[in-house]
């Protein structure tokens, strides 16, 4: 036996020598995490805490991924909610999630997420991640969005980004590296390594192109979905594949590709995190966009209203209505509306980006600069007829829509879509302004099918040993639309699912 082994070893050596001199490095870990974003770093932190040796692979030059942009995370029955007297029970939250998804979602996973959410807030608190306040997903909704407070580096002025989810990223990243973990930047994972039916590691490529073999007892896929992958977007979001992705680049669907090659089943692939409409090339807090998405008068390229504009409160709805009319609309407002927004402030907040009541003093600069660029994004005219011509609409169609809007504003009833009266405004005082609106999203939501502990399953529902998918690499949390009824769901799920995978993987390794 020994002899056989040693002759096998020398055979392997021979093969190794016969191969061309590809530089190839080997590293060892208990758990390899592919993707150093919110869910991946949560998994790495939890695994390190439980004593595992962790290697995190990150494609970009910096950790954080989409987790650099979010602000708050979901929890139900957290200490802070109880203290303020916010009554959002776990049962209520679970039922709301499942009903919103028409029970197309993975109930076991959603329940696990809701049930552990409050404890996860405590877990973060113990590491110095504090909650600033608890807010909503959409205005007036249940209070579940636990907005992350500024950290010490923000307060001392050392790092103006040590705030919101980036605070979470900073703490997790430091925890992992302080506890013997390694975070490799600009080193994407490329392929899983399998032995029989088990996943036993992952190949990576460092920035000089050198291949690294990472032997690991379990691999956690956390590459953040596929919003940057044009082919996949065409396949899974055919309604509007060119939808603008707000956030970060390089989410190329690598995790889903690698998982599928290892037999993973997929679910929920057609659901994206539909966001407020806007324009490519503009910051989410841009004031020209902030005025354009006030819920007043939006028309299709034919010049007809197509929705209750105020459904932007729950922006997935706003995205759905825009996508169904082809993905292009124009928000038109008159000078009286412009003046009110600039001098008195806006009615509809844009989350944390632009608060209600903000006076849009930068509107003029932003609008006029864009007008001068002549990209067909913004328009200005003294009459509705002239504006219609610029927008290539039939003037009589647009005029009829304007007349109907003005009538609705006077009678305080919107016969077409039943929009609340307070958002019924006239389009009457020239000059008139138009801003093009196109669909935007914050990321894809479908991915590998998982158990309640985020083990990846194959098409027969059998868990694939050693493989986990977390955050937006895993599907199952959503039905056909992004759920904003409970604020903080995606970031909250990213963190919680990372923890579940780590906990389960540790048990699996010890078996």
């Amino acid at each position: 036996m020994k002899k056989l082994l040693s002759s096998m070893a020398s055979a392997a050596l021979l093969v190794a020598c016969a191969l061309p001199a590809y530089a190839e490095k080997t590293m060892e870990a208990d758990i390899a995490v592919v993707g150093g974003g919110l869910s991946g770093l949560a998994a790495a932190t939890q695994a390190s805490q439980l004593g595992a040796k962790v290697i995190v692979l990150e494609k970009q030059a910096k950790v954080g991924g989409t987790g650099l942009f979010c602000e708050g995370v979901f929890a139900a029955e957290s200490k802070v909610q109880k203290r303020i007297g916010i009554n959002v029970t776990k049962d209520f939250a679970f039922k709301l999630i499942m009903d919103y998804g028409h029970w197309k979602n993975n109930g076991a996973l959603a329940k696990h997420f809701v049930d552990r959410s409050a404890e996860t807030i405590e877990w973060m608190d113990a590491m110095g991640i504090k909650i600033e306040y608890v807010g909503v997903g959409g205005h007036g909704g249940p209070l579940t969005w636990h907005v992350i407070a500024p950290g010490p580096d923000y307060l001392s002025g050392k790092n103006k980004h040590d705030y919101h989810c980036e605070r979470v990223i900073n703490v997790f990243n430091k925890y992992v590296t302080d506890h013997g973990g390694q975070v490799l930047l600009q080193t994407p994972g490329t392929d899983l390594i399998r032995e029989g039916n088990k996943v036993v590691g992952v190949w990576a490529k460092d920035k000089s192109g050198e291949k690294i073999r990472i032997n690991a007892k379990a691999v956690v896929m956390a590459t953040g979905g596929f919003s940057s992958n044009k082919e996949m977007m065409k396949k899974y979001y055919p309604e509007y594949p060119d939808i603008t992705a707000v956030g970060n680049i390089g989410k190329d669907g690598d995790g889903i590709r690698m998982g599928t090659a290892a037999g993973a089943d997929l679910e929920g692939m057609n659901t994206v995190e539909g966001y407020r409409p806007g324009l490519p090339g503009f910051h989410p807090a841009d004031q020209m966009i902030a005025l354009a998405v006030q819920p007043y008068f939006w028309v299709t390229p034919r010049g007809e209203r197509y929705t209750d504009e105020s459904n932007i409160v729950f922006w997935p709805y706003s995205n759905n209505s825009l996508v169904r009319v082809g993905g292009v609309a124009y928000s038109i407002y008159d000078d009286a509306t412009r003046k009110a927004a600039v001098e008195q402030g806006i009615e509809m907040p844009l989350g944390e980006w632009v608060l209600a009541g903000t006076k849009l003093v930068k509107w003029e600069d932003s609008f006029n600069k864009e007008l001068a660029r002549k990209r067909g994004f913004v328009f200005k005219a003294d009459t509705i007829e002239e504006l219609a011509k610029q927008l290539k609409m039939k003037p009589e169609v647009l005029q009829a829509s304007v007349d109907q809007m003005n009538k609705a504003a006077e009678s305080r009833t919107d016969e077409l879509f039943g929009k609340p009266a307070k958002f019924l405004r006239k389009v009457a005082t020239g000059p008139f302004y138009a801003t093009k609106l196109t669909p935007r999203h914050l990321g894809t939501l479908g991915g590998m099918k998982v158990t309640r502990d985020n083990q990846v399953v194959d098409t027969k529902g059998e868990p694939i040993s050693g493989l986990y998918a977390v955050g937006t690499d895993s599907g199952g949390m959503y039905g056909d639309s992004y759920d904003l009824l409970l604020g903080g769901g995606t970031a909250g799920y990213a963190i919680n699912s990372g923890r579940f995978a780590a906990e389960h993987a540790i048990k699996y390794i010890k078996q």
Partner: protein, 121 residues
């Protein structure tokens, strides 16, 4: 000082430049007229991929120094985007070649999501 060192370097490079085999790729961009050999940027005579940041920074010092030079002239406190600096951003120390190109036109990687006035050479 910086520029004179570069001029020296430039002359040295010209002197040591040998007439090598014809390459399919030509050197464009800001270095077009400097007589650089492939290896000046690629550290190899038979490149497979774009140069590393280390290779560019061998002549251009550091990201920090570059960020000093491209700091925005005026910052409007009300406008978060007026802080924008191509060499210091939320994207981290990304590859120089994400923006600065040699064999094809340069392109600002930030342009996918922002509309900034600066353009890379």
């Amino acid at each position: 000082m910086f520029r004179t060192t570069f001029k020296l370097l430039f002359v040295l490079t010209l002197l040591t430049a040998t007439v090598s085999a014809v390459h399919a790729l030509t050197v464009g961009g800001p270095h077009a007229t400097m007589g650089f050999k492939c290896a000046d940027c690629h550290k190899t005579d038979a490149p497979q991929a774009g140069p590393t940041n280390e290779a560019c920074l061998a002549c251009h010092e550091s990201y920090e120094k570059l960020a000093q030079k491209t700091k925005p002239k005026k910052i409007n406190p009300a406008d978060k985007e007026s802080h924008a600096n191509p060499h210091e951003s939320h994207m981290g120390p990304i590859n120089c070649t994400d923006c600065h190109r040699t064999h094809k036109p340069s392109e600002l990687v930030c342009g996918q999501c922002h509309t900034f006035d600066f353009v890379p050479k």
